[in-house]
């Protein structure tokens, strides 16, 4: 690293803020990335890592703050401007055209030409070959991308960045879907980029790989800078501390008075398509709220979907009150008293154009008919009852659900399945994107549901929420149950260690 490069950062951000409806994603975040340096960005789910990267790459320009490129103030209103400066952003879901060849992808949008309009395929191929060599990928430039593995595609993306003369490569969770060997290969390339004087920034959840690769880590928490560690200061403990380190007011925790009842849900050796090699077993008792923590992609949602019959598992069994559920049958699961409130309320939870009343009625419509006709009075009465119970704020129940605020939409989602009086309620991110007031109301409903004897399994990436509501917490890491934390041992650090696979507990 030259002295000049060390003094003036390649890219510097000062006081970046970004607000999305209902959430302050970034608050006054500052960061500096130097040439010839590899920086890892760490943080819990929702800490603002991706938002920061997207702000720097022009995907979501920030609302406030200053960005400097090689010391000069710049504005990056779009991806094109970022690319022109020399910033390459590699999305988590890669951005390649699967049915084009490697060479076509590498030079997409800036193909070498002759006669002004024809693509100069020979030059393109030759230059691709050089670039592929630099990233250590030994495939022909004529290979179609759909035939490459995820790891190979990752390298093609890097080759594309090099073709654009990028000086700073930003990668959003590059290793989340790579095998150990592919990750190692990727980091060799990262090392090579660094030695050629490029700056590399990557987001990761794997502390071990951060330790191995990064020169520096930058930690975000709740959209703010939480700290930064140099190579010599790094340790899993310190990183986790910076990521969490939020004290929970004990008075806000649920008073423990419930003595769990009989086993309601028993999951045995369940394997899902997302993690076919991992079998998961656990149980939930009546009256219990079991939190399920883990990082995004740890396999929690997939598990819940199989339990609720939305998907089929690869093997294993799901028993409710000792009776096995038929796999892949939502209607059957609903009949057995199992309800799943899905994580994505706009795509999975709600019919945005249909009325609140009808949204609430739909899961249980089969039980509200006479000779096949909907019993309107009954449906309306039920919707009224749910509106009161959950405090859904709306002028009338015939309003399309899509016109409600996020918090009220989420209440409608819960009402849909709460109206069925579930014996087992699976909640997937029950308060994502919901304001504080609605959150508290939703917590009350969940608690009273458990108090009435239902079993609750709550998937959440919000550690505060997990700690506040759970009687015990199951933690998943890369498809398996990394461990269970009992109520008396609950702390953000205990959960985070299991979730990131650094079992230092």
């Amino acid at each position: 690293m030259t002295a000049a490069a060390a003094d003036i950062p390649l890219l510097e951000a000062r006081g970046l803020s970004k607000r999305f409806p209902g959430v302050q994603a970034l608050a006054e975040v500052s960061a500096a990335f130097h040439a010839g340096e590899v920086v890892a960005v760490l943080g819990e789910n929702g800490a603002g890592k991706s938002t920061l990267m997207k702000a720097l790459a022009g995907v979501h320009p920030p609302d406030a703050g200053e960005i400097r490129w090689e010391g000069n103030p710049v504005r990056i209103p779009g991806v094109a401007q970022a690319e022109a400066l020399g910033i390459a952003f590699i999305h988590q879901e890669l951005n390649l055209c699967e049915n084009l060849t490697v060479a076509e992808n590498v030079f997409l949008g800036r193909e070498p030409r002759f006669a002004g309009c024809l693509v100069d395929r020979r030059t393109m191929k030759q230059r691709t070959l050089t670039l592929l060599d630099r990233v250590g990928l030994t495939v022909s430039p004529d290979t179609e991308v759909e035939r490459l593995s995820i790891g190979q595609r990752q390298l093609v993306e890097i080759a594309r960045a090099l073709a654009r003369d990028a000086k700073l490569v930003i990668m959003d969770e590059p290793t989340s879907s790579l095998t150990a060997r592919e990750s190692a290969r990727l980091f060799e390339v990262v090392h090579d980029l660094k030695s050629r004087g490029l700056g590399v920034v990557f987001i990761s959840h794997r502390l071990a790989e951060v330790m191995a690769v990064a020169d520096r880590v930058m930690v975000l928490k709740d959209g703010r800078n939480s700290g930064s560690l140099t190579k010599y200061e790094m340790s899993p403990e310190r990183m986790v501390q910076l990521m969490v380190g939020r004290e929970l007011d004990p008075s806000r925790r649920r008073p423990m008075e419930v003595i769990p009842g009989p086993v309601r849900l028993e999951v045995a050796q369940l394997r899902t398509r997302a993690w076919p090699d991992e079998a998961v077993s656990f149980s939930v008792r009546a009256g219990e709220i079991v939190g399920m923590a883990g990082l995004v992609g740890a396999g929690r949602t997939e598990l819940a979907r199989v339990v609720a019959g939305v998907d089929r598992g690869l093997s294993g069994s799901v028993k409710v009150d000792g009776i096995p559920l038929r796999p892949g049958r939502v209607a059957g699961a609903l009949q057995a008293g199992v309800a799943l409130a899905p994580e994505d309320r706009k795509e999975q939870g709600l019919f945005l154009e249909m009325s609140i009343r009808e949204n609430i009625a739909l899961p249980g419509l089969g039980g509200q008919q006479r000779f096949g006709f909907v019993r309107q009075a009954q449906v309306t009465a039920q919707a009224e009852q749910m509106r009161g119970l959950l405090g859904i704020r709306t002028t009338h129940l015939e309003k399309p659900a899509g016109l409600l605020s996020g918090g009220n939409q989420q209440k409608v989602v819960l009402a849909k399945w709460l109206a069925l009086n579930p014996k087992l309620f699976l909640l997937d991110e029950p308060t994502r994107g919901v304001d504080v007031g609605a959150k508290a109301e939703i917590y009350q409903v969940i608690e009273s549901l458990a108090a009435s004897g239902a079993a609750v399994l709550m998937i959440s990436s919000d550690l505060e929420e997990i700690l506040r509501l759970s009687d015990r917490v199951l933690v998943m890491h890369e498809g398996r149950l990394a461990g269970e934390v009992a109520r008396e041992d609950l702390s953000e650090e205990a959960v985070m260690h299991l979730a990131t696979g650094t079992n230092a507990v």
Binding site: A308, V310, V330, Q348, L352, L362, G372, K416
Partner: protein, 325 residues
């Protein structure tokens, strides 16, 4: 957020458009408002309305059926052939209904179980049924036996009321529309079908058997196309396998789209489809008077294009107004 506009106000708008269209046509060509002319309009609205209602069920669930015209042709040829084979009217109707259910089942199963695209499946149907219609008709025009003219009077032509023609087929179509509206709005299955069209993923989370409902939509569509095949035959008294019903699916889709159905699925009001079918029939008739029959495709194309652009503009205007409010 798009199309939050309630179907109610949209249907009223379409009704207003229909009235304006009628007045404009009458002003351009006074003969358009004559009893005979209006009778013809209502007859065609009835005939095409039956298939438009059918296809709107498929469109509602996000699919499309291109095989309707060929299926109309096949059933129109088959009906006289079956009668000649010695069947009575009831038996022939039962055979046609049975075959129609089978065709719909086949479309639905291929689309839901094999995950094929509805466009492709029914495009193949378009060719296959046309081929079968030609084979079944043996290259000759199949003629309705003259002893069946009573059926024509009863189901298609009807009796004049106070000197004004009221085609039976129009009343029949209205009856079917009422049944369809009751089904979609008041029954459990109907609401689930609508929900499936609006958001199939969310419907699956509600425990709704979305595949079955989508199959049901194809069955309803083919069944109504089969019925329409017989009605069209009764109207014209004869059918040639190679051409009868050609491109009728497009007229049916036109009626549904003019009635406010979105090809993205999830949007269909039965009343709108009825009004849309009447509009299509009016435009056909008016063009016949004003410019000559050869202009009808051109005009209907321009008319629909104007309709969807107006719809889009109106939706945006409503959304903008809502934001300001």
């Amino acid at each position: 957020m798009k199309n939050l506009l309630t179907n109610h106000s949209k249907t009223l708008l379409i009704l207003a458009l229909l009235i304006v269209l009628t007045l404009v046509c009458g002003w351009l060509e006074p003969r358009f408002l004559s009893r005979d002319s209006l009778g013809a309009v209502l007859k065609y609205a009835g005939l095409f309305g039956v298939i438009a209602l059918g296809v709107s069920f498929v469109i509602l669930t996000g699919g499309i059926d291109l095989s309707i015209g060929s299926w109309v042709g096949l059933c129109a040829v088959l009906f006289p052939v079956l009668l000649k084979e010695g069947m009575n009217v009831g038996e022939a109707a039962l055979v046609i209904a049975g075959l129609s259910v089978l065709a719909g089942l086949l479309h639905g199963l291929l689309v839901t179980k094999l995950n094929l695209q509805a466009f492709l499946v029914t495009l193949c149907g378009l060719f296959i049924y046309r081929g079968l219609a030609r084979v079944a008709g043996g290259g000759r025009e199949q003629i309705l036996p003259s002893d069946q003219d009573w059926l024509r009077d009863a189901l298609v032509l009807g009796r004049p009321l106070a000197g004004w023609p009221v085609p039976a087929v129009f009343l029949l179509m209205l009856g079917l529309a009422v049944v369809a509206a009751i089904f979609l709005n008041l029954t459990v299955t109907g609401r689930r079908l609508l929900a499936t069209g609006r958001n199939e993923q969310a419907a699956r989370f509600c425990g709704i058997g979305t595949s079955r409902l989508r199959i049901l939509a194809f069955v309803i569509c083919s069944l109504l196309a089969g019925l329409a095949g017989v009605l069209f035959l009764l109207d014209s008294r004869s059918a040639l396998g190679s051409s009868f019903g050609n491109s009728y699916e497009l007229w049916a889709i036109a009626g549904a789209v003019l009635g406010g159905c979105s090809l993205r699925g999830g949007q269909c009001a039965v009343a709108g489809v009825v009004l849309g079918s009447i509009m299509v029939a009016e435009v056909r008739q008016a063009v016949f008077f004003v410019a000559g029959d050869e202009w009808k495709e051109f005009v209907i194309g321009v008319f629909i294009l104007a309709g969807v652009i107006a719809d889009e503009a109106f939706t945006r205007w409503m959304a903008a107004r809502r934001v300001r409010a």
